[in-house]
């Protein structure tokens, strides 16, 4: 691998960009995702996840079991908005989206 080698093919993020954010303190897949868009493509990190874990391991010496999984949200694979917005009133809310931030009186705690 050289520094121009692509790690996230969906978003065309190179090894160099990933190494740079790790040097700035990124330690998990989601850290890297927030800083570079790595993992935000159509495959939703199904392809780059293992490559990124490899880079974190090499750069920081962290063991693979110390590198957590990326967050996997609904929908787990791409779907047309038109399809997702089925005119049904029986659905309960989606599980993942708002559970990350805990709200108190409508504000983030």
């Amino acid at each position: 691998m050289d520094k121009s080698t692509i790690i996230c093919r969906c978003e065309e993020i190179s090894l160099e960009e990933i190494v740079e954010v790790i040097a700035n303190g990124a330690r998990t897949f989601d850290d890297i995702k927030r800083l570079t868009r790595c993992g935000m493509g159509p495959c939703q990190s199904k392809i780059c996840n293992c490559l990124v874990a490899g880079v974190i391991h090499e750069q920081t010496g962290m063991e693979f079991h110390q590198i957590p999984l990326p967050r996997m949200r609904m929908p787990i694979s791409p779907i047309k908005l038109e399809t997702l917005a089925t005119n049904s009133t029986t659905f309960s809310s989606v599980k993942s989206v708002l559970d990350e931030v805990e709200l108190e009186d409508g504000k983030v705690k």
Partner: protein, 365 residues
Amino acid sequence: MNAVETDVLIIGAGPAGLAAAFETASRGLQVTLVDESKSMGGQLVQQTQVLSSLPSIYQPMCGFELAAHLSRQLEDFEIRYLLGHRVIGFYKDGSVGITDEKNVFPLRAKKTIVATGASENAIAFPKWTLPGVMTIGAAQTLMNRNFVQPGKNAVIVGSSDFAMDVALQLSKVGVRIRGIVEKNTGVKANGTEKVEQVRKIGIPILLNSSIKEARGIGAVSEVDIQQGEDIWTEKVDLVCVDGGRSPILDIFYQLGCSFGHQEELGGWVPQYNNDFQTDCENVFLAGNAAGISTQGALLVTGMLAGINVCAALGAISKEAVEEGKQSLWKELESIETRSNLKVWQARNQHIEKFAHPVLKDQFIS
């Protein structure tokens, strides 16, 4: 539209899901089987090699024959098939969202068996994203399922049993294999016969070597192979990479299951107990999703998940469950210790850690 109800929801109609479907449907439970593919059999459909490590009740047969056998076995039962349907996630009330690509509808199951299989891991080198570079499984799918020859001149990266099988299959359809490139000092495959066959038909196995770079305009046309100090160029239009496989976890993650880490099972694996039950009481699992293993072992895990779900829903007597579990665990041990002892050991270690997962409560950060 009200949520569709079912006793048992099985996600994935590969060998594990089909085996679980037989165990549950044959004991009178109402079973819904969903798979995004229009056909049943999962990854078995493109496997033309003879599977040697099947449970003792099976004759040796090829993957696609096993897929047909497992599907036929279900003909006598009333199963709700949702083929060509994708699971897109779960709602807060526990119902699952399923799409037929036109609509999404909710489904509620008393018990869910997740048998979503494994995905192949990528290997990165400069220009690995050029067309013509693909995973070894993609090459096998193109060749055996779509009847498309994926290239004329190939190199294969990785030397697992899977890579050896596909090398032989590619050669048979006229693809010239310039070499199997392995970064380690020894061949990874356990099946020494297969490796012999590969050597016999003149495919060079290059140890201590790797792809330094691929080149091409619009598609791969050559690769540089490095072995120690030597670097040379091979003209190829196909590069098959075998980076190993890992369980597909998105559905477990959405369900709130915990995970542990076992390198031999493919990395992160949902945490489960002796009954192939996750730490979410109503969620069971089977197949490669529970750790990468051989087809025979995957079938047994599907049967185990199936009878444990029957037990949880009171569809089988206590004695029958105990007897069934005991003999299936014996079978699993016999298959896995024969085909890959390390996988058997890792599976047991993983189960022992059931109460102490590495990753849990992923949705509450």
